[in-house]
């Protein structure tokens, strides 16, 4: 049972505060609001190794537990005096953040500030007396009256973002990256009220590559996410690769089958055609929802997206040269950043980079040098040479160089090979609706040992 829900900005400003529980009247007035400040003091005083997820405030009457998640740079906090399931509370807070994003378009301090009346309305319907009532957009949309105020700043640079995610529909049109970040309930008659549906295949990749280029760990967590702006829901059929096989037992020889270890579906998904045709049938409700989650461990169907050939030499300086090779030819990697740990006490660095748009800097505080490549075309190869000046260099210092970690974003590409063959809406659907399929792979953790 939840006693209070509040949203704080990273600076501790109160954005939303809702007190559900009458028990709280024991220390009502000054103290009940105080618990926000208590929480903020506790969370900012934590050191890195302490667990912030659950914190206990020992107070005179009964202990108050704070459970919080961080999303969009904000603290989403629930407090409780009972001992509920942590999974429920955490997933609920995540869901609250997701709904806020659906309704306000984006998730930021500004959008929450501008739409606070809407969020109060949402909270009012979602939770009553500390008990979760519903979080489904289908039900909520009947009750929500306030319209979202969208906070879209005008920016010249918006144009450059076009095509951040490629879209592969029949017309091969390109959906602007901001298209999906708008409120699901928009005022009628505006241009933003288009009937659009986005199906995203999102994979998070975590890879460890050993010192000799051997793949030591590879792990894909994937999901198919639908973001639906259709006013009425009708059945949609999503066709996946026909040769998709699930589980280890079904693997047949050396066929090129796309395989996932296991998958789980949203409870609204109908699976009667899944076993034979790999078709998911779902009636998407407005907003964002995850229809399928899957994972694949240890057996990537393709080579890992990046190969790094590092060499480290000890001279008067430490010289490390890095040769980075992007194995996927049909994709583009964006926001690639490579962190190379350097020995403690490194003071300066000189660099030779293979192209002008790359940057590299030494961050002595983090004992690392950061090499950034904003855009990395498929099949390309980049190299960099860094000379790091370390006073009092010893041979042991080389131990501190590595492991290299990378973060990046691959558009138009999934590592598991999962594809969406088709996306069909029921013929009863009136009006023109646009369908977008987008693929993106994020690096959850990509580590290369030296």
């Amino acid at each position: 049972m939840i006693s209070q829900i509040f949203i704080l900005s990273s600076k501790g400003d109160h954005l939303i505060y809702k007190d559900y529980h009458i028990i709280m009247k024991h220390f009502r007035g000054e103290a009940s609001k105080d618990s926000i400040n208590v929480f903020y003091e506790m969370v900012t005083a934590l050191s890195g190794d302490q667990t912030p997820v659950v914190m206990v405030h020992l107070c005179s009457h009964k202990d108050l537990h704070f459970i919080h998640v961080r999303q969009g740079g904000l603290y989403w906090v629930a407090s409780t005096k009972t001992n509920p399931s942590p999974f429920t509370i955490i997933e609920f807070l995540n869901r609250l953040a997701a709904l806020t994003k659906d309704y306000c378009g984006s998730l930021s301090e500004k959008s929450v500030r501008m739409n606070f009346a809407l969020i109060y309305e949402l909270l009012d319907e979602m939770v009553d007396f500390g008990y979760i009532q519903t979080t489904s957009t289908d039900i909520l949309k009947n009750f929500i009256q306030t319209e979202a105020v969208s906070s879209k700043p005008f920016s010249l640079f918006d144009l450059s973002n076009v095509g951040l995610f490629g879209a592969e529909t029949q017309q091969s049109k390109v959906a602007p990256s901001v298209a999906a970040s708008r409120p699901i309930m928009s005022s009628r008659g505006e241009q933003s009220g288009k009937n659009e549906i986005f199906v995203d295949v999102i994979e998070r990749l975590s890879v460890v590559i050993g010192s000799k280029g051997v793949l030591m760990k590879s792990d894909i967590q994937g999901e198919i996410r639908i973001k639906c702006f259709l006013p009425t829901s009708s059945e949609m059929r999503i066709g996946l690769n026909e040769e998709l096989s699930i589980g280890k037992s079904q693997q047949k020889g050396y066929s090129s089958a796309v395989r996932v270890d296991e998958c789980r579906f949203h409870q609204a998904v109908k699976l009667d055609e899944f076993d034979t045709f790999r078709i998911l049938k779902v009636c998407p409700s407005q907003g964002e929802q995850t229809v399928m989650q899957y994972q694949l461990c240890d057996e990537l169907p393709c080579a890992p997206p990046f190969q790094l050939f590092p060499s480290v030499q000890k001279d008067y300086y430490i010289v490390t040269s890095q040769l980075l090779f992007f194995t996927f030819s049909c994709s583009t990697a964006l926001n690639v950043s490579i962190t190379v740990p350097v020995p403690k006490g490194s003071v300066s660095m000189s660099q030779e980079l293979s192209s002008p748009d790359q940057t590299a800097e030494l961050q002595p505080k983090n004992k690392a040098l950061l090499w950034e490549i904003p855009r990395f075309p498929g099949g390309a190869q980049l190299s960099a040479l860094f000379k790091v000046d370390v006073p009092g260099l010893s041979s042991a210092s080389l131990l501190e160089v590595g492991p290299v970690s990378m973060s990046f974003e691959l558009a138009k590409q999934t590592c598991s090979g999962l594809q969406i063959r088709f996306l069909r809406l029921a013929p009863t659907q009136t009006g023109l609706s646009q369908r977008w399929v987008r693929y993106v792979t994020h690096s959850d953790s990509y580590t290369i040992r030296i």
Partner: protein, 734 residues
């Protein structure tokens, strides 16, 4: 957050809200109302606008109504007389043809926190329970609970309880779950809602209609149901089987908990359920939300206490991502250490090795500690890594490695030779003094340079700040003297002289005096006292690991307990375990149960375990003693034991009761103040003999108990333990 000029702002808003021009323009009016709510959220006191807001509630605009209601719920208790004005509008809305308006009005009316509300809301609630719109019924059902919490001490209204039980059959799933919640609140004193066979089966059959939140909540309610037969049990389990694989982690975990509890007599079923849920649990460990990850990891750790092998093949899932926060990395390393086996040890060590040079010193030290624990089983491989780390010559790394060496030597004597060799090579820059000194003292015979290193310490004694290091140095030097007297004699003399003559710390001085007098007794006597066992392999953590029965942790599974981390705050975990409202209710509901996890009421008093915990200062004790109420006063029926007070104190200490203070033995009245901790509560007590205010019983001992937070069960246990000790002492002394 107080703002400058807040009063001005309130006045300005008041003017605007009462301006007829503004009132005529709906949009402008609403904007001002929005502004009021914004200030309210920021913590500004806008209660002065109550009257204007009540006026604003009479509108057809539902969005505006909602805002005004939010305002009224917040301030109703501050302005009860004005709030009564709003009630008329609300009651009128409760009869509105639009169910949304009806529900809204009813919900907010029930949220008013002021005395005397019951008479206004009772009738609309009863009407709402029979409303044809499910939305209104949902609100009305919870309204019953709210009404009860307004007057928690009144008698329970039987008709409402019956009506709620009847509504468990409602077609709307949320109404059903709300009924359970409301009954649980109303019947809290009687042990909560009763889940009998028809209700349990009804709920089980409705599971598929519920949304995930309701599912996990119903699963939690079902925990208190005990099937009558094995057939029934297996029927229930097969109904719930599919929920173990739910896409929602909270449903899967709640189902698992129910499985573990229901099938406590069938270990094979429990094992199957754990196997089934291992996939969703592992998925949460890799979830995008790091908070969910953390919760998943904590629960994986719990499962591993009984089934260490379950996640063995998935050890790579617990490799740390470089961008993960430290608290997740710590958990992952703890899990990795548990998962090490012959096949994966090389890979795990290589992974841990890469964390040792992390930028965060805490993480690096934790990684070294993890390697140190693995070293207790796979010492050779780990020693190589640890030795390699010494070459980095970084303070935090060296000190962690030396500590690990000390532990390793203590737990695995076979690695002593290798460690000594390494220490020999690295002691030119000693960092962690205590661990190093211990190693030098204990194994000085195997480290040839040991006396010289120690001499360095003795020469630098004046600048040494830590008294713990000085104490360790004294002990180590004496030990060293025993095995290498010629090299040590001179410096030991200097050390003792300094510590006895010049040291200001009394503890160090006493230790030095002890050493000195010991040495005066002769070398053999000293050897007998100082040298103990050099290692204790039986304490090894890895080899001594026992598989705990599932029942040990099943009761805290899927609660906050595993997350709050015992090491962080020792009281938390215990509190949450003891705090479960359901468990005590279960015991009362199911006295006939033969479940092993439940003990019969007679045993419960024995079961209570006391603990000392951190010591309490006199001031704290005094403050708490004055603040708290006496919960129990009991005459023991026998006088104070005639033993010496030291004996009494020692005996109480034995059963983990700490004595804070007592009056000298001969005084009348005689008093003693004692305290102890038990399952999250702090118990304070006073022993009194010869109270003038209660003549007649002056020969008998009276105990008064205070406690925070209240836990009657713990008090009973405490008193019975105390009684036992005192009686034993009485028997002994007579």
């Amino acid at each position: 957050m107080p703002y400058f000029g807040s009063e001005e702002m309130v006045k300005e808003l008041k003017r605007a809200l009462s301006n007829p021009n503004v009132q005529a323009d709906r949009l402008r009016y609403k904007n001002y109302i929005t502004k009021v709510i914004r200030y309210m959220t920021q913590g500004l006191d806008v209660s002065a606008l109550f009257m204007d807001m009540v006026k604003a509630s009479a509108t057809v605009d539902i969005a505006q109504k909602k805002l005004v209601y939010l305002y009224m719920c917040t301030y109703a208790s501050d302005k009860p007389d004005l709030a009564l004005l709003a009630i008329n509008t609300l009651r009128k809305d409760c009869a509105d043809p639009n169910p949304m308006v009806r529900g809204l009005a009813l919900r907010n009316m029930c949220n008013f926190r002021m005395p005397g509300m019951t008479e206004y809301i009772e009738q609309p609630i009863v009407a709402g329970l029979r409303d044809k719109a499910s939305y209104v019924r949902r609100v009305a059902v919870l309204g019953c609970a709210k009404m009860h919490s307004l007057q928690p001490n009144t008698d329970i209204d039987g008709t409402i309880v019956n009506e709620l039980y009847a509504l468990l059959r409602d077609p709307d799933p949320v109404v059903v779950v709300n009924c359970l919640r409301a009954l649980e609140e109303i019947l809290k004193d009687e042990g909560g809602v009763v889940i009998n066979k028809p209700i349990a089966h009804h709920l089980l059959n409705r599971m598929k209609d519920l949304d995930s939140w309701a599912q996990s909540e119903v699963l939690t309610f079902l925990l208190r149901y005990r099937p009558r037969s094995d057939d029934e049990l297996f029927d229930i389990l097969s109904l719930l089987d599919s929920f173990l694989q739910s896409a929602h982690a909270h449903v899967a975990v709640a189902t698992l908990r129910l499985f573990l509890q229901l099938a406590s007599a069938h270990p094979a079923v429990q094992a199957d359920a754990l196997l089934c849920t291992s996939a969703p649990l592992l998925a949460t460990c890799g979830a995008a939300s790091r908070e969910l990850r953390f919760a998943g990891l904590c629960h994986v750790q719990q499962v591993m206490r009984s089934q260490p092998g379950l996640f063995g093949t998935h050890y790579k899932r617990f490799f740390c991502g470089y961008s993960e926060p430290t608290y997740i990395k710590f958990r992952k390393m703890e899990i990795l250490v548990e998962l090490v086996n012959d096949e994966n040890v090389a890979l795990v060590l290589e992974e841990l090795r890469s964390y040792c040079t992390d930028v965060s010193p805490e993480l690096a030290q934790a990684a070294i500690a993890a390697i140190g624990r693995i070293a207790q089983t796979y010492s050779e491989k780990c020693l190589d890594i640890l030795t390699g780390l010494l070459a980095l010559k970084q303070d935090h790394i060296t000190s962690a490695v030396i500590q690990m060496f000390r532990d390793l030597v203590w737990f695995c004597p076979q690695s002593t030779a290798a460690v000594c060799q390494t220490v020999e090579a690295c002691v030119d820059s000693p960092q962690d003094s205590e661990a190093l000194l211990w190693l030098l003292g204990e194994h000085g015979d195997q480290i040839s340079s040991a006396p010289y290193v120690m001499e360095g310490y003795i020469d630098g004694l004046k600048t040494e700040l830590s008294s713990a290091v000085k104490m360790e140095l004294l002990t180590a030097s004496v030990k060293m003297f025993l095995c290498r007297p010629a090299e040590t004699q001179d410096m030991l003399g200097r050390l003792l002289h300094y510590c006895i003559e010049e040291e200001s710390d009394v503890c160090v001085r006493d230790r030095a005096l002890l050493c000195y007098r010991l040495l005066q007794r002769g070398v053999e006597e000293t050897r007998k006292v100082v040298t103990g066992p050099k290692s204790d392999p039986s304490m090894s953590v890895l080899t001594g690991r026992q598989e705990e029965p599932i029942s040990q942790w099943a009761s805290t599974f899927n609660t906050l307990g595993p997350l709050s981390g015992c090491d962080l705050c020792p009281q938390t975990a215990v509190i949450s375990a003891a705090d479960q409202p359901s468990s005590s209710a279960e015991k009362e509901l199911l006295p006939e149960s033969t479940d092993v996890t439940l003990s019969s009421p007679d045993d419960t008093e024995e079961e209570i375990s006391l603990s000392l915990g951190p010591p309490l200062s006199h001031e704290t004790f005094e403050k708490m003693w004055l603040d708290l109420e006496i919960l129990q006063r009991q005459t023991m029926g026998f006088p104070r034991p005639r033993t010496a007070l030291d004996t009494l104190q020692a005996a109480l200490q034995l059963v983990k009761i700490q004595t804070l203070a007592f009056t000298p033995g001969a005084t009348v009245p005689w008093k003693a103040y004692i305290y102890t901790r038990s399952t999250g509560t702090l118990i304070l007590a006073e022993l009194l003999q010869g109270d003038q205010h209660a003549p007649g019983i002056d020969e008998s001992l009276v105990v008064s108990v205070k406690q925070q937070p209240v836990n009657q069960h713990a008090i009973r246990g405490f008193v019975s333990i105390l009684k036992g000790v005192l009686q034993t002492l009485n028997v002994d002394s007579s």
